[in-house]
């Protein structure tokens, strides 16, 4: 049975629909990440789960129990806010103790629980300090400890790392993953950063304009994006899109005319297409190679305009038929800006989308 179940959940502010008919099931112990661009309704959805805002329609169930009518604080969830929302007038100890005091626990019990949570997040030496004496990362840990002591069935985290610098963010990313493993509880984590989603999630929920675009394991979303939005959002640098015309449908293949590229036959589901209609093909930058692969491939000539060498790999922004293609090569190949470069893309690696942006390629 799912730990968290959302059924046809909607939220409207006036006439604006921030969350549109979302249905989701999150398993017990799962690390689920809601990802999507800023303003797509991630925080709103999290607040609906927490009970901070009432749903406009639909139901929220946690561990089999309908929670829709329950107020915030009466649901078995704890939340870590983007701003941390620590109580500035209380010491670290008092911050972590607050939820326990609200449960009217005994003083000795509170001391023990706080000590345990503080040890989990390595804050034992800072218990008497006020939050304004702590660094961003330490405040983050206090917020997490305050959530841990509640022993919630579900942890909710709203962009908890976005106020940290890059190095600390990387460190906290793996710490949160470890913490999840240790606690074994369900986590719902919100971020606009697809890298965080890819690295931390058991399962990713991609949101766009209040709707769920796709739900899946990180590598499923990467290899089999359901539509143009997910294809463009997951992966960095983002996928290249080339518009095309359908010129024929035969034997499980879609025959395409791609301007400045030529004819191309891709295996695909013909039902999404009509001859003469539009289509889009998608090529990941890392699918592009300089050496011909031993399989059917598309061959192009690009004119590199910018070459970014990062050591581990090299990103080339090249011009091809009046559009910009991004290519990512391993290592540090000898590529000169503005000298024409022959590249190859295995046909199996090309994504195919119909006129409505739905993926129609046969991929495995």
């Amino acid at each position: 049975m799912a730990e968290l179940q959302l059924q046809n959940v909607s939220k409207t502010y006036g006439t604006f629909e921030a969350v549109k008919d979302v249905s989701l099931a999150i398993e017990d112990g799962e690390f689920a990440v809601f990802v999507g661009p800023s303003g797509c309704g991630k925080s709103t959805l999290l607040r609906l789960i927490a009970g901070l805002d009432p749903v406009s329609a639909g139901t929220v169930a946690i561990g089999d129990k309908d929670m829709t009518a329950r107020q915030a604080g009466e649901r078995p969830v704890a939340m870590v806010f983007q701003s941390y929302a620590l109580y500035p007038h209380m010491s670290v100890f008092e911050n972590i103790a607050f939820p326990l005091q609200m449960e009217k626990r005994s003083k000795a019990d509170i001391r023990e629980q706080v000590a345990k949570a503080a040890a989990t997040v390595q804050l034992t030496t800072r218990l008497q300090d006020k939050p304004n004496k702590l660094s961003g990362g330490q405040r983050q840990r206090v917020a997490i400890a305050r959530a841990i002591v509640r022993k919630p069935e579900i942890f909710l985290m709203d962009e908890p790392l976005s106020n940290l610098d890059a190095a600390l963010r990387m460190e906290m990313r793996s710490e949160l993953t470890q913490l999840h493993k240790r606690l074994g509880s369900t986590m719902v984590y919100v971020t606009h950063d697809q890298l965080e989603a890819m690295t931390m999630a058991d399962r990713i929920v991609v949101l766009n304009a209040g709707k769920v675009e796709q739900v899946g394991k990180p590598m499923d979303l990467y290899h089999r994006p359901a539509n143009l939005f997910v294809a463009g959002f997951i992966g960095s640098p983002p996928m290249n899109f080339l518009s095309a015309k359908v010129v024929g449908l035969e034997g499980g293949n879609v025959l395409l005319e791609v301007p400045e590229v030529g004819r191309l036959a891709l295996p695909g589901d013909a039902s999404g297409f009509t001859v003469g209609g539009d289509a889009t093909i998608g090529i990941r930058p890392e699918a592009i190679t300089t050496t011909a692969p031993g399989e059917p491939a598309l061959t192009l000539s690009i004119a590199p305009r910018t070459v970014e060498r990062l050591g581990l790999h090299t990103i080339v922004y090249g011009e091809q038929g009046g559009r910009t293609l991004t290519a990512l090569f391993n290592g540090d190949p000898a590529i000169a800006a503005d000298a024409p470069l022959g590249v190859h893309v295995p046909l199996k690696q090309i994504h195919l989308f119909d006129a409505a942006g739905q993926a129609r390629g046969h991929r495995d």
Binding site: L52, A72, G73, F81, A85, Y87, R146, R150
Partner: protein
């Protein structure tokens, strides 16, 4: 008369040479401040060491006025009355102002209307308000006693009884001042991030817990600030007493400033009045320093 004390938040002092241009800009204001405030204040202190009066040639008497003050039972009564008035006005004003601010900070319908109604008394002229309240407290035709009679309760001599007069003045002052407290508390409430309330709700805090564990402590600086403002203001109460009771009945509403006024302009004992003024000034200064200290501690 007493000095208005400054409650500005002090910052770390910096060296003079670093800030000479700041001082240059401040000079005109400092000159005005010196002529209108510091000079008369200094003159008051000097006067308090004399027996200056229209009644006799002036002598330097050193601390005689202060020694006399200590054993002056009328002055002691005035100090007691002032303390009663100050506590009686300050605490309820802050409590009511805080409750009104919290109630009107939320999504309550008509909150703008209520805010305006509660703030209106602040904008009235003191003398006009005093005249209206004299009518309200009128023993025979006033609305309060009218209502009491209708309810079958005995009417009260609100301003005519030594036991009631000061309390009646206090009620009126609360009516006039709590709008100020409300506005300042409302401003303070705006500074508390919404997230913190939401975190508290998720942590299981009920309305009462949120009020006492989050709102009140997070407004402590505003509270100290208001307390200084109100103490300094109520310490110097004069206008309402002058209009409504003239210090009576039986000196029950005689406050320090009212007695100072009578001593100076009724009995022309300027030296003695100046000593009272200096004592009042020192008391206000003390409260301001304590309040500012508390505020700065709350900030760190």
């Amino acid at each position: 008369m007493a000095l208005q004390s400054s409650t500005a938040l002090a910052r770390r002092p910096q060296s003079f040479t670093q800030n000479w241009s700041a001082y240059a800009f401040l000079t005109p204001a400092l000159i005005i401040l010196f002529l209108s405030l510091l000079l008369p204040a200094a003159a008051t202190v000097v006067m308090s060491l004399t027996d200056i009066s229209f009644l006799r040639p002036t002598n330097f008497v050193w601390f005689d006025n202060y020694i006399k003050l200590v054993s002056d039972s009328r002055f002691r009564q005035a100090v007691g009355n002032t303390a009663y008035y100050t506590v009686g006005v300050t605490l309820p004003t802050m409590a009511l102002g805080l409750l009104a601010a919290v109630a009107l900070n939320g999504k309550l319908r008509g909150r703008i209307v209520f805010r305006t109604i509660f703030y209106l008394p602040v904008l009235t002229s003191l003398i006009a308000a005093a005249v209206v309240w004299m009518y309200v407290y009128e023993p025979y035709s006033g609305p309060i006693n009218g209502t009491l009679t209708q309810l079958g309760l005995p009417p009260q001599p609100w301003l005519q009884s030594p036991n009631l007069a000061m309390t009646s003045l206090i009620v009126m002052a609360i009516w006039r001042d709590f709008g100020t407290a409300m506005i300042i508390y409302l401003a303070g409430l705006q500074d508390i991030p919404k997230d913190i309330y939401e975190a508290a709700r998720l942590d299981g805090a009920k309305t009462k817990d949120i009020f006492f564990r989050i709102t009140v402590p997070m407004l402590s600086n505003v509270t100290f600030y208001l307390m200084i403002i109100l103490i300094v203001q109520t310490f110097q109460v004069f206008g309402a007493i002058y209009v409504m009771t003239n210090g009576g009945p039986l000196g029950s509403t005689e406050t320090i400033v009212f007695q100072m006024y009578q001593t100076a302009f009724g009995y022309t004992e300027f030296g003695y009045a100046a000593a009272m003024s200096t004592v009042l000034f020192l008391a206000i200064l003390l409260f301001s320093i304590i309040g500012t200290k508390l505020m700065r501690r709350g900030e760190s």
